[in-house]
Amino acid sequence: MTQEMDLNQRFEAYIASDQKIEAKDWMPDAYRKTLIRQISQHAHSEIIGMQPEGNWITRAPSLKRKSILLAKVQDEAGHGLYLYSAAETLGITRDEMLDALHTGKAKYSSIFNYPTLTWADMGAIGWLVDGAAIMNQVPLCKCSYGPYARAMVRVCKEESFHQRQGFQIMLNLSNGTPEQKEMAQDALNRWWWPSLMMFGPNDASSKHSEQSMRWKIKRFSNDELRQRFVDMTVPQAELLGLTVPDPDLKWNEATGHYDFGPIDWSEFEQVVAGNGPCNRERIETRVAAHENGAWVRDAAAAYAEKSAERASSQTSAA
């Protein structure tokens, strides 16, 4: 009991002095669980997030755009890999995490439950969704858990390319034909509010925030990050000549920030609860990929085992 308290105190002091916790260090159970939940959720988001954009790879309107989009979606798969590996350092396997995803026990970012209806959605996702992800993720590069922080450094390097390619698509559309501009505006209309929801509930109703801040798993509150995102994005929308779909949006001279309208949290809760437009398709697609690949993974495992046996019987014969 007193020993446990000692460990706890040392742990808290360690974190307070901005030191990194490594996989082999002692850590409170709740810290470990919180991290596993957060990192695996993040990994799942990267993987599920491949689907809405993957939806347009075969239809990309130029070979250059096809190649950029394919590289982008491939990066997201890589992010999933780094993050699953980071979570594995905490004593959970990738199979266990995938199982939780496939059975609906684990969550992923709700933004990916919206459909991608036009090519402009590739622009809006890169610009807004990757943009919001960067806001959320840059602070995680300094998170107290070393393997997560290091994974995030690699992830964030690539995310800024994702955001630029999205903005570039929006720019081309905005400077294009009237139909293209309309396509861009429509995409902004559909992705704006879900992007703001990516920062999570308002601070007053966020259940994990306080402890995560103390543990330096989280460095800024949901509302702070959301405000930063709005402040960064609104001028970019102006540059594009597009209208942010919020009648309450206005610059506040006194605060030096944009004021914006209330978020429809009932929609957010619906989507989180599994009733978004694409929740079912996203999981079904993921589960189908996993199940259709089972014989392939089995074969690879069987072959590896046979090869190892052959190698060891050769050495013992020699």
Partner: protein
Amino acid sequence: MADQQHEWILRLGDDALVLAQRLSEWCSHGPALEEDIALSNIALDLLGQARALLTLAGQREGQGRDEDALAYFRTDREFRNALLVELPNGHFGDTIVRQMLFDQFAVLRYEALASQTVDLELAAIAAKALKEVRYHAAHSAQWVVRLGDGTEESHQRVQESLNVLWPYTAELFEDDAVSQACAEAGVLPLNGSFTARWTEQVRAILDEATLTCPESTALLTGGRSGKHTEHLSYMLAEMQVIQRTYPGAEW
């Protein structure tokens, strides 16, 4: 000769483009995350090759068509790829056997193209592509061996893939007036000249994979003259939809 050169480069470019398009369909459907990434990587390499080759084909044609004009505004009757690469992905074993059969050919073809000194622009594209397809060839051969010598189920599945795909391989080695003109110009030896080495290498892979090389002498062909399977037109409908819906727009 100039006409036929353009035609020849189109064949190379279309092989790469159509296979890249097929492989990109795998994105987020792979059997494991690592393999999703590997297939996307191969698709990206092939797409890069296709862009360079189609650009060159357009320049040689001299009618102002760029890579996108050639990719998005030709019909299936104007595509020049071999039938093998347009076949639907099927399951992972089908895709990987198709890939192995093609990769082994692509390595030989790019080796020859990279070492000729008649068409230096094409040689430069081939030299870069060669490094890529050697890696693809190692990857697909490794998987054929794993699946062939994996479980009983995987063995049966890829043997079946091989049996179905085999009749499409002979087309790769066919020669016609176009390939003969190219051979005479010294750009690339006749396709038929690759048969022996390809067969030897493929047999070695199949042996290691404990798979049986099909005896079939059936020859399914037509791609080089624009007579494709029914599948290609659907693939192009999907690939070309935005360009064709909004002609003249820039993306």
